[in-house]
Amino acid sequence: MVRSRGSVISVLDLSIEDVASILAQARSFENEDPLIRMKRLLKRRVALLFYESSTRTRTSFELAAKSLGADTALISSQSSSIEKGESLKDTGITLKALGAECIILRHLSSGAPYLLEAATGLPILNGGDGMHEHPSQALLDLRTMLAHLRDGTAEVDETTLQGVTVTICGDILHSRVARSNALLLPRLGAQVIFCGPAALLPEIASQIGPGVTIERDFEKALADSQVVMMLRIQAERLAGLQVDLEEYKSRYQANGPRLAKFAPKALLLHPGPIIRGLELTSEVADGPQSLIAEQVRHGVAVRMALVARALDHSNAENTGTKSSEKPTKKARRA
């Protein structure tokens, strides 16, 4: 299958150099005068196609595109022709005909962005597909970690996160965030520990890639970690799976005493939405180790870089067409 340059559907679409240049671009946009920045993608068209509800991802992609001057259109599965049975392929073709140069897709079905990419030939930014991946989240998580552990460097390579252990705890099975992080962070030198009960974390999960191990004992995992990423139990994807919540909390909840005892210095991340009192307590969510709000801020910067990168490639292709037209005009004049 021919892939669109500029698409980011999986974190594996990005080389380490790509990651470094996205982080550098994010920083440069973040530091830029908003009035200059808004000319970067002035009047370019970006579509946000959302088949699943979202607060953070949708808003931050939208703000990111807008702060670069792009026009955005939001299409959600409710209140669009998707409700009338229009297919993803036809929705994509329609958006392209409306002038979209890039589509940001959130979809409940794993792999849906590949279908949209094949149908439109446009760069697709994956805003989360089913249980598959959420690459922009992994990039913003990385940026958050670098801000605290590596002085905010953007110059990452295979060794940047050496010596850093990241525990991802909770509903790994249904988590696209866990998958994208587990496929990205070890490439920069980090160790990833998956933690959770067997029902939400099958043994097979550790085979996702190098640098990923399973530790069922949350407190052991905490003691080894510089970063702890808590995940929500995705009730909407449980499909009949029974989880004893009291038992779950007693073993896997991030609460004050547990963090104080086993990981008093660790950074606490959560992709949101958080369920206070379940995977973490309010005390932790609002506490000094929590970077939950900061993650959201990094999200806007990273997504500016991703949107610019996507449109850059779409622009490069257009320029190619124009330059090939020029000789024809000259020939006509002659």
Binding site: S87, G130, Q207, A239
Partner: protein, 441 residues
């Protein structure tokens, strides 16, 4: 094209495993039957007397017409995917002269009327279609259909294919009644209690892709259950046929049951002996089928099972779907791939070329044995008196399959662009030429 016309096939290498023949033989067909098989040149006079059309099969293999006991022809009800006419045209192009059509049509073929309708000349079949009727009404798994009258209408087996016959009591009843009617029960072995929402094989690949996976126990567990039921029947000897077997554990269960003297047969589809779950790639819906492509060990076990003989036959599970149905999100796209035009070429490539299996063994798996499994009398052999179902192919010719050129109405195949061994040159169904291809230079 009239069946009254006689055909002399001369100069070819006749491979008829059921008759134990692999030699230069001429063969004379008349009135839809094989009337003579003789040494080269011996039928000249007889052919002249009959004013027979001559086919020069020099350098070609002359084999009994291939038999596919598992196809979905989509009629009645889903003619946009396939019709009996287009499906049998694809079958003829693939060298098949008999296909057994599964009952998951719209409506489900659970009646003698639909069974007869499917065989009626108005359907325009180019080769013989044998319906397999639903084992339960509407394939709902609750009440048995009328096995005796279905058989009288032409059904050659009963199955709820696409779904399993899940209830233990109803399966027990189906085996008992089918045994009395002299029909096999063909089970789509999938414990659907373990596969809800699943769209590929369970394992590391499914986890990585964020897809729910079907565990192999969902297949092997039901095969084991059915074998237990078969062993527990009183006073009747039933025949259980396991459709599209795909897992090591289920194959071993069949092997054990057979050793214990039970009448259990099984088929394997080309995609299950050729591909693994890795073929799903970036959510390629042409690699989505049920049972799903499995792990490498399972794929190897299917291959080994064919080489060592525990697998009775190759069947394609030809399952055409329209492009708009396959161009959907992976989890939403329907299961299945087409297979009629690629089965012979893939089987010869893998078993004859790569694994040095004699061509006669491959023909046995694609013709004689499937005919035997469903007791299709006079099929799968070219002995005198049998049906004039003949496939003539160039066993040395390699060619590239192009889905766009397929005679099936649907093009959903993962084998587009694959190199095939063995080019079909003639397919003759009951004495009529159903397919003819000029040699490509």
């Amino acid at each position: 094209m009239s069946p009254a016309i006689a055909i002399l096939i001369r100069g070819g290498r006749l491979i008829d495993p059921a008759a134990g023949v692999d030699a230069e033989r001429d063969i004379l067909l008349r009135d839809g039957r094989v009337v003579a098989v003789e040494a080269p040149g011996k039928l000249k006079a007889a052919a002249k007397q009959e004013n027979a059309e001559e086919i020069d099969a020099t350098g070609l293999v002359v084999a009994p017409g291939l038999v596919d006991i598992h196809v979905h022809l989509r009629e009645p009800g889903q003619g946009y995917k396939e019709t009996i006419a287009t499906g049998t045209a694809a079958a003829a192009a693939g060298g098949f002269t008999s296909v057994c059509a599964m009952p998951n049509t719209v409506p489900v073929n659970d009646s003698p009327e639909t069974t007869r309708w499917m065989q009626s000349p108005e359907r325009g079949a180019l080769i013989r279609v044998f319906p397999i009727a639903a084992a339960t009404r509407g394939s709902m798994g609750e009440k048995l259909t009328e096995y005796g009258s279905l058989k009288a209408a032409g059904a050659v087996g009963v199955s709820d294919d696409g779904k399993p016959i899940l209830g233990e009591a109803i399966m027990h009843q189906a085996l008992t009644v089918a045994a009395r009617a002299g029909l096999p029960v063909i089970q789509h072995a999938e414990d659907t209690r373990l596969t809800g929402g699943c769209s590929m094989n369970a394992g590391a690949k499914a986890f990585r892709m964020g897809l729910r996976g079907m565990p192999s126990e969902a297949e092997s567990g039901l095969v084991e259950r059915d074998i237990r039921l078969l062993a527990s029947l009183n006073g009747v000897r039933a025949h259980l046929h396991v459709a599209h077997l795909s897992t090591t554990a289920a194959l071993e269960a069949v092997r054990r049951a057979r050793r214990n003297g039970l009448h259990v047969t099984c088929e394997v589809a080309p995609h299950h002996f050729l591909l693994t779950e890795e073929a799903v790639g970036d959510y390629d819906t042409n690699a989505k089928m049920n049972p799903p492509l499995r792990a490498r060990a399972d794929r190897d076990a299917m291959l080994q099972g064919i080489l060592d003989g525990v697998v009775d036959c190759i069947a394609t599970d030809h399952a055409p779907h329209a492009a708009h149905e396959k161009e959907q999100e992976f989890e939403r796209a329907p299961n299945g791939i087409t297979g009629l035009e690629t089965a012979l070429g893939l089987s010869l490539s893998l078993f004859h070329k790569a694994h040095r299996l004699p061509i006669s063994r491959v023909i046995n798996l694609l013709s004689s044995q499937p005919a035997a499994v469903l007791a299709l009398k006079g099929r799968g052999t070219l002995a005198v008196g049998s049906f004039a179902d003949v496939t003539i192919f160039d066993a040395k010719k390699e060619w590239v399959f192009r889905a766009a050129g397929s005679k099936s109405k649907s093009k959903n195949t993962p084998f587009d662009g694959w190199t095939m061994l063995g080019e079909v040159r003639w397919t003759i169904s009951e004495g009529r030429i159903a397919y003819r291809k000029e040699p490509t230079v």
